[in-house]
């Protein structure tokens, strides 16, 4: 199984849609889970929702976390501190949400390691489209 990928968004729909898109591009072998919205499916961020998604996505090789913005970033950082010495291995990726997810998912599907997957997401800042 691949390195895990978790997408934190304060919008449940955005997290799910981006997961779907990444699955289409990277194939079914990628372990990727959405962490969108609060526990009752509202817009917002929930540390418990993120924690559960990480547990879902983890296959023992660590989990890369991408965040859309604002409270997603702050909550993911808070969770990282909580887990500092624990399992699973977490790596927050500072990346554009969609572009970084696609890059990370495709690379993860090749069996790449945690750090390279995270870095491929972060390199998406230097991508250009036109």
């Amino acid at each position: 199984m691949s390195v895990g990928i978790v997408l934190v968004s304060h919008s449940p729909a955005l997290a799910s849609a981006t997961v779907e898109m990444a699955r289409t591009l990277a194939g079914p072998g990628v372990s990727i889970a959405p962490a969108g919205g609060t526990a009752d499916g509202e817009v917002g961020t929930s540390i418990d929702v993120i924690r559960n998604a990480i547990a879902d996505a983890d296959a023992g090789r660590g989990v890369v976390v991408l965040m859309d913005m604002g409270s997603s970033v702050l909550t993911a950082k808070t969770l990282l501190e909580d887990l500092e010495d624990g399992e699973p291995q977490l790596r927050l990726a500072d990346a554009p949400f969609v572009e970084g997810t696609v890059a990370a998912a495709v690379l993860a599907s090749t069996g790449a390691e945690l750090e390279s997957v995270a870095r491929s997401a972060e390199e998406a800042w230097s991508m250009r489209k036109l």
Binding site: G44, T45, S46, G70, S71, L74
Partner: protein, 224 residues
């Protein structure tokens, strides 16, 4: 500015000079009361320069914190603040959740089972530093920090000059309120409001406003 809340009893008949477990609990309960009384105002402020959920977010967070304190009986103030932080992180649902939550947890960790005004000064400073660290904000970026930083400075100054817990907390509350008001002319550089650019100018920051309530609550419950 005497305390009229349900926990006023804790102070009856004596000066509160220490932040013991009972006073810490009273603080959090008073925070919940003030947030409840100001929920609409916080929501309106956030509707103007954010997404209009700060009142509801804070209300949800502090209600969970109070409920959790009712279930357990943390034995010292440090544990009260730690439990409060945990609930705020878990239930608030906005950027203010991890920020205040981390702030209360670090304050609780710093305080431990100490109770005196110097320890409280250090705890508040730890709260400020952890919020700055997590959010990356410095003063004048129109955030929580603009109310909390002057509050901590005023608390330290007053306590450093021999002021007691209530005197220090009162000075801090006034400084926080001034700091919150002073966010009005600022342009937001952090958080959701920063997307507005110059349009964020001219309105009080909701997070700074809720910080002023949190510090005011401490002054309230330590009033003689």
């Amino acid at each position: 500015m005497g305390c009229t809340c349900q926990y006023a009893g804790a102070a009856v008949g004596g000066l509160i000079v220490n932040l013991d477990a009972t006073t810490a609990r009273a603080w959090i309960v008073r925070v919940a009361e003030l947030i409840h009384a100001n929920e609409q105002r916080l929501t309106d402020l956030d509707a103007t320069i954010g997404d209009g959920d700060h009142g509801a977010n804070m209300q949800r967070g502090v209600a969970a914190a109070v409920a959790s304190l009712e279930e357990q009986e943390p034995e010292d103030a440090g544990k009260v603040l730690n439990s409060t932080g945990r609930e705020l992180i878990s239930k608030t649902g906005g950027a203010s959740g991890p920020l205040y939550g981390t702030g209360f947890r670090r304050a609780g960790k710093e305080l431990g089972d100490e109770v005196d005004v110097q320890a409280v000064a250090r705890a508040l400073e730890a709260m400020l530093r952890s919020i700055e660290e997590l959010g990356g904000a410095t003063q004048e970026e129109k955030t929580i920090v603009d109310a909390l930083a002057p509050a901590v400075a005023a608390f330290q100054e007053t306590s450093g000059q021999g002021g007691d817990l209530h005197a220090a907390a009162s000075a801090a509350a006034e400084a926080a309120e001034r700091g919150a008001a002073a966010t009005i002319p600022l342009q937001a550089r952090k958080g959701r409001a920063s997307y507005l650019g110059e349009r964020s100018i001219g309105h009080e920051d909701p997070g700074a406003a809720s910080t002023a309530l949190i510090i005011r609550a401490l002054a309230d419950v330590t009033a003689p």
